[in-house]
């Protein structure tokens, strides 16, 4: 699903954020990405969603070469990658329904199809009864779930999340992770950047560790199986 081959990203002001990074994530995997702040986690996620372009190296996402996408292809690529942010990035002047509908509306779907899918997505994150509410009226955990609903509403094969639990208490964080695990069970590939090592180490998933733009550790799923995990909250 994701193949990074000697990828570097250099910013004029901060130098190399990613430094000859190579890694591979197969379709259907759920992978954590960890490391200190500034290690390049967010940058890698942005490259995958083509919010940025690699400076060097080749990055393939679902067979598409990110460095070679034409401006016309970029929006279509972004629709295939659900993005979830630490700060949720919701439109505060629009209802929950309209926020979740955004990816479908920009893709040009009809209003009936939009309504059907938005309700399905809200149902999955347990916010079906809040569709008319405005984001400001929701708690942080609920706002993050709106953000997740928006990411999955277009049924992308790949979800990338940048510190999705960074602003949530441990209980809510576990709930969000359980939600991700459920998406993963139906075949969605997930890449989750987080520095919450306590949470990550308690979960049976592969973990990639970045340090100053390089891959320094790649721990595969621990010995215990998913059924042992404490995610069945």
């Amino acid at each position: 699903m994701i193949r990074c081959d000697q990828v570097s990203k250099r910013y004029a002001e901060s130098g190399d954020v990613l430094n000859h990074l190579s890694l591979e994530i197969a379709a259907g995997e759920m992978v954590f990405l960890t490391g200190h702040s500034g290690a390049g986690k967010s940058t890698l996620l942005k490259l995958i969603a083509c919010l940025e372009r690699p400076s060097r190296g080749q990055l393939l996402v679902d067979g598409r070469n990110i460095g070679r996408l034409t401006p016309r292809q970029i929006p279509h690529h972004r629709r295939q990658v659900g993005m979830i942010f630490q700060d949720y990035r919701l439109l505060m002047d629009r209802s929950v329904f309209d926020n979740v509908a955004l990816p479908l509306v920009v893709a040009g779907l009809g209003s009936q199809e939009v309504a059907r899918r938005v309700r399905a997505a809200l149902n999955q994150v347990g916010l079906l009864n809040r569709e008319k509410a405005h984001p400001l009226a929701l708690s942080g955990g609920e706002q993050q779930r709106v953000g997740i609903a928006r990411a999955i509403v277009g049924r992308p094969p790949l979800l990338v999340a940048d510190e999705p639990t960074g602003n949530l208490d441990p209980q809510l964080a576990r709930e969000v992770m359980a939600l991700f695990a459920r998406f993963n069970q139906v075949g969605v590939t997930l890449l989750i950047a987080s520095h919450d090592l306590a949470l990550i180490s308690s979960l049976p998933y592969r973990t990639l560790t970045l340090d100053r733009g390089r891959l320094v550790a790649d721990t595969h799923a621990p010995k215990f199986t998913a059924s042992d995990a404490s995610l069945s909250v």
């Binding site: 401006p71 929006p75 972004r78 040009g108 779907l109």
Partner: protein, 313 residues
């Protein structure tokens, strides 16, 4: 995410435009005062050349009586008698280059002098009628055929009965020249102010884009195309242009209405009845169509310049 079929896509596209048109109008209504200021600015800029154009149109209407042909007056010698004058009139009426020939006898001329001018008392003093027979001619040739008219004048002067030929073409030509200058000035002014309107709309749209920066970033993140993000701003520009055009139309109509009463009074002093004409259908289409085009163009330029600068992160 599946792509809809072309037909469905087109239907959705239309629905989206409809919704965008309405929501951008609602956005304008949400801030009535700044919107009114912008619309007024555009309206005044477009009303200036429009008013100048209306002015030249009215001058042209005023000059309509002499617009195409010149009237020629041939004063016959005083010794020419009625029969001779009538015979000459019949002869001239047979000429190909004359449209009409009217013979004005001295008695009729004197009567008109008495009735229409302030010389009634002076006329009473006269013992004999000093006026000659006059032939009032309308040539076939048009005003701009200077050589043809000159030839006609020479032919008329050469007649033995003729005392004097008067042909007032020069001032009519000058008048037409003035109208042409006015029309050109309206065009030049319109071009300059159209550029001003483009800047006003472009700047307003730039501010709108700045206000929506966060929203634009989120839309780009979830896969909105450039066209999708551009659309509401283009609609906004269309609304500004269209409303500005309507405002200009209203201002021109208002100016005409305000001018009608004094113009009527002035015309009454010349025993005339003059109703001011407005823009006319063609110019109304140009005004409203042009303002829509300006709105779209202004926002397009602004969007092209400023949207490119907004990238996610």
């Amino acid at each position: 995410m599946p792509r809809p079929s072309p037909r469905r896509w087109f239907r959705n596209w239309l629905a989206l435009h409809h919704q965008e048109a309405r929501s951008s109008l609602a956005r304008l209504r949400g801030r009535p005062l700044p919107t009114l200021m912008t619309v007024l600015m555009i309206g005044i800029a477009l009303a200036l050349p429009g008013t100048l154009y209306v002015l030249t149109r009215n001058l042209a209407v005023l000059g309509d009586g002499w617009e195409h042909t010149a009237a020629i007056s041939v004063f016959l010698k005083t010794e020419v008698k009625a029969e001779q004058a009538q015979a000459l009139a019949r002869r001239l009426a047979g000429r190909q280059d004359l449209e009409s020939v009217i013979l004005i006898p001295p008695e009729q001329a004197l009567q008109e002098l008495r009735a229409e001018t302030g010389f009634a008392e002076a006329v009473e003093q006269l013992e004999t009628n000093p006026l000659p027979y006059v032939l009032s001619l309308r040539p076939m040739t048009y005003l701009d055929d200077v050589a043809g008219l000159e030839g006609l004048r020479e032919a008329l002067s050469a007649l033995p009965e003729t005392d004097l030929v008067r042909m007032d073409t020069l001032w009519v030509q000058r008048f037409q020249g003035i109208i042409k200058v006015g029309e050109r000035a309206a065009l030049v002014l319109a071009s300059a102010l159209a550029a001003g309107v483009l800047l006003v709309i472009g700047n307003t749209i730039r501010l709108e884009i700045e206000n929506c920066r966060q929203e634009i970033v989120i839309m780009e993140t979830v896969g909105a195309t450039r066209g999708f993000i551009r659309r509401p701003f283009l609609w906004l520009g269309l609304w500004f242009g269209g409303l500005g055009g309507l405002m200009a139309w209203f201002l021109i109509a208002l100016a005409r209405w305000l001018m009608q009463a004094p113009v009527s009074q002035l015309a009454a002093l010349y025993q005339a009845d003059f109703v001011l004409v407005g823009l006319g259908p063609a110019a109304q289409v140009v005004l409203l169509g042009g303002s829509l085009v300006l709105g779209l163009l202004g926002s397009w330029i602004s969007v092209a310049r400023h949207l490119a600068a907004i990238e996610p992160e």
